[in-house]
Symmetry: C2
């Protein structure tokens, strides 16, 4: 195989597939990057067994300045090859595979020859049927990921909880994640002409990678499912992830139907106060802060106390508050992560009692986004 | 003690002294920040035993909005206290020390009480006589540090080589560092009215900290010496460092007086080519690249070879070259660090033979800056 290409166009494709490549894999060939050169394009593939990314540099796009001189396939050491391509002196580069997978890269007066591997040893990507396609707006889907992935479990003891549970029915996409201490649930209405239906759990780590790839993208992505794989297609790029196997717990019954105390805040104001209080709780063995809520006085006191380090107390005036007085303690980190994904909106917090989970929802479209945090017993 | 101050002005002073404070010290009280409040200012002190930094927030500067209500001293946990001050909600803050060194910090509706320590337990800073002062332009001195500190030894086997050797005589400041594989020497002429004289070795790590502090400063700093300490004064800030004890080796005899092969390059062009070649040498056990110099052909070939990974070769045309043909091998990292501190200037490289150190100097003012690199024997 042999081709000449614009170096920046090639680097862009390299960066895309490199997201999936880890140097810490147990399968040596996966530290490599696979290139398949056909008469029309270079197809690049990177994979870490959980996630695989494939993208192409097409000869038909004049920006790529791609001339394919002969076809073929090769696997090259990904990190090392990327470093070389990024440091080459000229605007164009050529790549040619010779005997014994020896690959020569030329640019300007610089010439590298590196040892490649037989592409036949590279694992095959899963086959995903692209018939029943669900169309998603990239920016909305990225928001859904960001709002739910915070609540996935970091512990492998219940693997199913390390993913986000996505269900599609009646043109509503529902995404839920919980680590059993907190829960985040987001609902999005899809265009009514979409009559797909699914119920899958996608690993949180895969979604984080996908989210990076969707950053700043203002178009639709296509989602396809097979029995144990999901494929997202974004233009010339395909992102594959395995699905988590098993039944996701029924989370709908966890969300309280009623409440005894309610308050409204600007999410940013409450976040700043919680961040201050958590400075102190982080120095303490039990990372807990307390809210003392007095709806009649329209005041909430946020306090923390660590015998070794000191105390903190701050009065915050809610935008509105109603119901019973309450003292409730919780892990401030859960609260901070929950508040951050609300951004600059107003939120409503609803409490039942000191030992029952409480909820945070935006004051507008309350049904579409709900977060739940379990308090900590301190007595 | 009690004061009210503008929070940003106080943060600026906190950041300055925090440079010297490490959480990894073996002396517990040095994880703290000392504050001494007099009727005219707050004096802040941070130290890691090697380096101490002291700065003040003065009541006489209206920008500080400083009102001192009562005087006194306290030591507060530096990292934790800084985090609190940076997160406070209001533009001003107050600080008051109560019984048992309990310190209350207020800003807006937020109130922290943290446990302080008795300032009498904090070590005294060294006394440095401020009579024989040497004035240095901050930007020039920062350049001198940057150009020499790259060559200090990272090994503690010969402690004296972990510092930069500064000598002042006849209005010439000479700075030299060597780790015995390479050497960097810079000379600066001081204004003729300065008749100071000294010979000291300042630890490289102290100089790196000082260099950060001098970043973007466009004024003079004052240098004072005692037997085992150096004090740099920059406006309201004092930077103390211990000196290294022992005799610095005589380095003047290391610099070759003659050469058999000479070349001129734009430092940046050579740097790029060396960076490419080092990508390959870094993958190899012996991190070495080779220059093949043919002055008659006006070409230099930079090459690297690693049996496991591959080969690299690049032809570079020097701006000029003269003398004998030569093949010479060396550690590309020494070369990269040397070339980087030349910036965008033209340089002259002079070789004696394949096993003798070679030198790099700027093509202008060759006497004022010289770097020396020892080659590696590869046969």
């Amino acid at each position: 195989m042999k081709f000449v290409t614009n170096r920046n166009a090639f680097i862009k494709a390299l960066n895309t597939v490199s997201r999936a490549i880890s140097s810490k894999t147990t399968i040596p060939i996966l530290t490599g990057l696979k290139m398949d050169v056909s008469e029309s394009d270079i197809l690049l593939t990177g994979s870490n067994a959980d996630v695989s990314i494939q993208t192409s540099v097409k000869a038909s796009n004049p920006d790529n300045e791609l001339t394919i001189k002969s076809t073929g396939s090769i696997v090259l050491p990904a990190r090392f090859f990327s470093e070389i391509v990024k440091k080459l002196p000229d605007k164009t580069m050529s790549l040619e595979v010779g005997d014994n997978f020896q690959t020569t890269i030329k640019s300007g007066n610089s010439e590298f020859t590196i040892n490649g591997l037989d592409a036949n040893g590279y694992p095959h990507l899963p086959e995903v049927d692209t018939e029943n396609t669900v169309d998603l707006a990239a920016d909305i889907f990225r928001q859904v990921i960001g709002q739910t992935v915070i609540a996935v479990s970091k512990q492998e003891s219940r693997p199913i909880l390390t993913g986000v549970h996505f269900t599609l029915a009646n043109n509503k996409l529902l995404a839920v994640a919980t680590d059993s201490h907190r829960l985040s649930q987001r609902r999005v209405s899809l265009p009514a002409d979409d009559d797909g239906k699914f119920d899958v759990v996608i690993p949180g780590d895969s979604l984080k990678e996908l989210s990076h790839m969707l950053d700043g993208i203002d178009q639709n992505i296509q989602m396809n499912l097979s029995e144990n794989q999901v494929l997202f297609t974004l233009g010339d790029t395909r992102f594959y992830s395995r699905l988590l196997e098993g039944n996701y717990p029924d989370t709908s019954r966890l969300i309280p139907k009623s409440s005894n105390t309610k308050m409204e805040f600007a999410a940013g104001d409450l976040l700043s106060a919680i961040e201050r209080a958590s400075l102190l709780s982080h120095e303490s063995r039990n990372n807990v802060i307390k809210l003392t809520i007095k709806p009649n006085d329209q005041v909430v006191t946020i306090s923390g106390n660590s015998p070794d380090v000191g105390t903190v107390e701050e009065d915050l005036k809610p935008k509105s508050s109603e119901g019973e007085d309450l003292e409730i303690s919780f892990n401030p980190d859960y609260m901070k992560e929950a508040l951050r994904v609300f951004g600059q909106t107003d939120i409503e917090i609803s409490f039942t009692s000191a030992l029952r989970p409480f909820t945070l929802v935006p004051t507008e479209n309350k049904e579409d986004f709900i977060q739940l945090i379990t308090p900590v017993r301190t007595f």
